[in-house]
Subunit: 356 residues, 2 copies
């Protein structure tokens, strides 16, 4: 198989971890006889530095011509004072919109070997296997107006939570499709006791649900969901929600099992390419120190192999290698606990590579 | 001291726990020589049943004429299919607006005696002492438009996140005032990398902060806040945020220490009366079983004594009685753990009363 992959390292540790991802893909290509062609693009603060914009047109073009996109991370304090439209995260928001990446998938899994890194008790998190499907191109993130004005001589401001019904439909449908291949349960999260958009969301969830008699649907208010994730995360299989609620809940979910540095994500569109990124962000404080955990990025590569290229065996080879390396006791400092072996970013990548 | 207190039992276990609160207030009145006059009003589903509206005008009048308001809880599945404007929670939203209750204060405390009820590890929650100050009468909850329409032949929906700058100012100011009497740290939570309203919020926080050189201000993005609450809840002192973020984060915070059934809240206005309620909701599944935990409501009474009436000694008498009863091993079923003594709602109230 031949595939073109756009690699967007971005900022901070994004550069270090994407380097590791490319190494791993090369190893997979070698072992299974595939050819992966990498082409690099700029995004975020580093794109602003050299091109004056957080998302140059060439990057958009590159992504559109590729079979999949690997993204490191964007952002850093040195760009926080820039005008909004030039800040690194605008590059991220724009690429989502340009590639029409309407669904962000974030698995949260329990790792036996990492249980000591979790703030939660073992009984609470043992066996957690949850997937959050977040709507990614609508809602408060893109609604207009989003602006200040004067009203009766007073300073006021407005942001707009806007959705087309069809935007709700496609992401909820995707959640049900994914649930079919899992534990067959969808938790649809909204705030239907307050928001009109949530009441529409709930209706659409019911409508989609009627097409999936084998999949159970439950509705849950977002405030309750924020509680249940901590009290009883095992009760969730697939969680689907709108953009802002998804932003908050998926970050909440990401720390439950103590494996933040291990969590991949995939963002899907109707016709591809899809984008894969670790959820940990650019972590400017540890940039360049060769201590970042590359496993989230490597597991994002596994998601890419499976979801974009249909290479199930190859995806499992990556995931198994990660598990073996963890079981052998190798740990970057973020997941280090007593009795294990501390390794650098590069050493961790090398171990996974050797295992593949 | 003579005080008039409006009591709104509402629905579900609201009725049981407000009965306990009145008992406790009578005990306090007797011991300290105060007269509390109780007058009862309807709200929520039970108000709808008898008056056809979740908030009758008489209830609003009653509250406005009182020195403080005690609310049980509203809601229940039997009213979920009503048209939106008749549902129980509309009563709650409307009373907030009518009484101009712009700030909701929710303490989350660590109870040594309840550590086993928490999903988190002891090391993580030991010593947690956090207060969330949530803006309560603005944002997505009340912004217009909040409606469906057709756009280019498509079904669309919009909700509106609207704030006056002055609404941000008063609640952030209140947070700093409260922080002065605590650990002198304010964490202002927003989503300034996406929302214009959050960027204004951040500016206002800076502006207020300049008046409080002794109080530290930090800004935190809401997704990060959702993580930090779990990873390191001890780092927070006062957290201030807008209405919807506050709804989500305060419910998240409420389960950290395992004491959901113990947590009170106060909603403040500029000129009173203030409203006090437990945060646990109406819990229709255990209604009428005499097993609900009355301590959240009783601790709300303590907040009322202190905040509305300035009765510090009396407030402490209530809080100390609660602690003594817990230390003596009495537990309602929600906080029951091995070796303790299971009691009913009424028995718990009686124990606290006897201790006072
Ligand atoms: C950087 C930011 C704009 C972004 C978001 O809010 O979507 C991030 O938090 C994420 O979840 O990918
Ligand atoms: C019942 C509901 C409208 C309410 C809210 O969202 O404010 C509740 O969740 C709360 O936090 O008091």
């Amino acid at each position: 198989m031949k595939k073109r992959i756009a690699v967007l390292p971005g900022d901070g540790i994004g550069k270090e971890v994407t380097r590791g991802a490319v190494d791993i893909l090369n190893a997979i290509g070698e072992r299974f006889g595939h050819q992966f062609y990498f082409s690099y693009g700029k995004i975020g603060g580093s794109a602003f530095e050299s091109e004056g914009t957080p998302l140059p047109d060439e990057t958009i073009e590159l992504c559109k011509e590729s079979d999949a996109v690997l993204l490191g991370a964007v952002g850093g304090p040195q760009w926080d004072r820039l005008p909004v439209h030039l800040r690194p995260e605008q590059g991220l928001l724009k690429i989502r919109k340009e590639l029409n990446l309407y669904a962000n998938l974030r698995p949260t899994n329990y790792y036996e070997s990492l249980v000591e890194s979790s703030p939660l008790r073992k009984e609470v998190i043992e066996g957690v296997d949850m997937l959050i499907v977040r709507e990614l191109t609508g809602g408060l993130y893109f609604g207009k107006p989003s602006e200040r004005s004067q009203q009766d001589g007073k300073d006021v401001v407005v942001d707009t939570l806007f959705y087309q019904r069809a935007e709700m439909y496609r992401v909820i449908k995707l959640a049900f499709e994914v649930a079919k291949g899992r534990k067959k349960k969808v938790t649809s999260v909204d705030k239907a006791n307050v928001l009109e958009s949530s009441r529409m969301w709930r209706e659409v969830a019911e409508e989609v649900s009627a097409q999936y008699p084998d999949v159970e649907l439950e509705h849950m208010l977002v405030d309750n969901a924020a509680m249940q994730m901590i009290k009883n995360p095992k009760r969730f299989d697939v969680v689907v929600t709108e953009n802002m609620f998804g932003d908050i809940l998926s970050d909440e979910a990401s720390v439950l099992t103590g494996s933040l540095g291990m969590l991949p994500s995939a963002s899907l569109s109707e016709n591809g390419p899809y984008l894969y990124e670790p959820i940990h962000g650019s972590a400017p404080d540890i940039e360049g120190k060769n201590i970042a955990n590359p496993l989230a990025m490597i597991l994002s590569v596994a998601m890419m192999l499976r979801t974009s290229f249909g290479l199930e065996e190859e995806a499992e080879a990556v995931e198994n290698a990660v598990n073996e390396v963890l079981n052998a006791g190798y740990r970057t400092q973020d997941i280090l606990s007593f009795g294990n072996r501390a390794v650098s970013t590069n050493e961790m990548v090398a171990e996974v590579k050797a295992t593949i």
